[in-house]
């Protein structure tokens, strides 16, 4: 027998509610109930990072996070980084400028991850950045351009603060 739960949470700054099948992952809920398709279904076992979202300030793989746990949480997806007028955020623009994207499947996860640790304006070493990004797989770029894009945003944010 299907079992449902009312899940109320803040998604990209807006309070939202939906009756959710308790068997759903957070990826399922974000894609199917809210149309947030930047949240990719990759491995679905928490290895590739394509489904990463920010929950209460920390990056999580939404594929191994039950949708029912999202109740009361504050969630940010890549759609939430884009400005209201549709222009790109600094992270998205840096990925474009540094050609840190090829097929684009891993990109939302990488950008969400970068946002999660660049929020505090801290400067990291290359090794630290590699470790912070290590939960994401990219099969196209070889990672160098991704690292370059993230570093660019890190330095530009530090300058403006």
């Amino acid at each position: 027998m299907a079992q449902y739960k009312l899940v109320t949470c803040t998604i990209n700054g807006k309070k939202r509610s939906a009756m959710v099948d308790v068997r759903a992952s957070l990826t399922d809920m974000l894609r199917n109930d809210y149309g947030l398709t930047s949240v990719k279904k990759g491995c679905e076992v928490g290895e590739c990072g394509a489904c990463a979202v920010i929950i209460d300030g920390e990056s999580f793989n939404s594929c191994i996070y039950l949708a029912i746990w999202a109740d009361g949480k504050n969630i940010t997806t890549l759609e939430g980084l884009t400005h209201e007028d549709g222009t790109l955020s600094d992270i998205q623009q840096a990925f474009v400028d540094e050609t840190a994207i090829q097929c684009g499947f891993c990109s939302p996860g990488f950008m969400i991850e970068a946002e999660s640790f660049l929020q505090n304006g801290k400067i990291y070493t290359d090794d630290e950045l590699r470790k912070l990004l290590s939960g994401h797989l990219c099969r196209c770029t070889g990672y160098e351009n991704i690292l370059r894009a993230v570093k660019k945003v890190m330095h530009s944010r530090a300058k403006t603060e």
């Binding site: 079992q3 990056s59 039950l66 470790k131 290590s134």
Partner: protein, 293 residues
């Protein structure tokens, strides 16, 4: 969608115990980074789940009145690493759990899940073994405290009775006082990797830093469950702080460990790792304690 029959959610320890009694066959899910994968793989498909992820009362680290360090079972790896009490009293635990998976896994994985899963490769296990952690279980009859060495019953089997959930991992003051440790994980890559073998060593030195007052060595993947190298510890308690002692430890541990061949590594490879890691981790632990080799 996950292939589960039903999910029961607990918000308090009392609710969790009640649900455990009502649904004795249901699987407990904390962060889910093991359980949900097993459901996907089909091993646990169709199971009933008791979710304790929302039981906030067993989340976080605090120091109790008698000096015991209490790590709530639902504390995530990332929060353990960031915690100031952990950094001050048991630095090596924060460093060890920072080697689990990748950042997103460390955000969801819990120390309680890591121990209850009962696997020998758990990155927290060798350190908790080496620091004589006490596992706290709460059930219908009240609270039960089990030394972690007795908590592991066999590969994938731990001492949780019907109706119980693990509520805390405790580090007694006598364990962490004047003690520093170091953990080495050997894996094929630096992230998203399970330990081929892991070794956690801690020491307490004499006030003049010349004598090893207490030596404790814990291993993961050196036997079916995480183990302590008791014979080696007995032999080198009160030994001088020296390279000779480090070399001696390196040889002696081979009498304590019992690794196996697996697709990850051969038994011989693991024996070599056990020996070398004990030495290196000992030297680093001595250095952290202010000793010189």
């Amino acid at each position: 969608m996950y292939d589960v029959e039903a999910i029961y959610e607990a918000k308090t320890v009392a609710e969790a115990i009640k649900l455990r009694q009502e649904h004795p066959k249901a699987v407990i899910i904390a962060g889910g980074s093991d359980v949900l994968i097993k459901i996907r793989e089909g091993k646990l498909a169709g199971c009933e789940l008791i979710s304790i992820y929302g039981v906030d009362e067993i989340r976080g680290v605090k120091l109790e009145d008698d000096g015991t360090l209490r790590i709530g079972s639902l504390t995530s790896f990332s929060h353990i690493t960031k915690n100031e009490l952990i950094q001050k009293y048991i630095n090596v635990l924060g460093e060890a759990v920072d080697k689990v998976g990748g950042p997103q896994i460390r955000a969801i994985g819990t120390i309680g899940g890591n121990t209850c899963n009962g696997v020998t490769s758990a990155d927290s296990a060798s350190t908790l073994m080496a620091w004589d952690a006490i596992i706290e279980l709460t059930g219908p009859e009240g609270v039960r405290r089990v030394p972690i060495e007795k908590f592991y019953l066999g590969a994938g089997k731990v001492d949780i009775h019907e109706g119980e959930i693990q509520t805390g991992v405790l580090i007694p003051k006598t364990s962490y006082e004047n003690c520093k440790g170091h953990y080495i994980k050997y894996g094929m890559r630096n992230a998203m990797e399970i330990a081929t073998t892991g070794c956690s060593v801690n020491v307490r030195l004499s006030p003049d830093k010349k004598i090893v007052e207490r030596l404790r060595i814990g291993y993961g993947v050196a036997a079916p469950v995480p183990i302590r190298a008791h014979k080696t510890e007995e032999k080198f308690n009160s030994a001088p702080v020296s390279m000779q002692t480090a070399e001696g430890i390196s040889k002696a541990v081979l009498e304590d460990v019992n690794p196996r061949d697996s697709w990850r590594a051969s038994k011989d490879m693991r024996l070599h790792l056990c020996s070398e890691m004990a030495k290196r981790a000992f030297i680093e632990a001595v250095r952290l304690c202010g000793g010189e080799i």
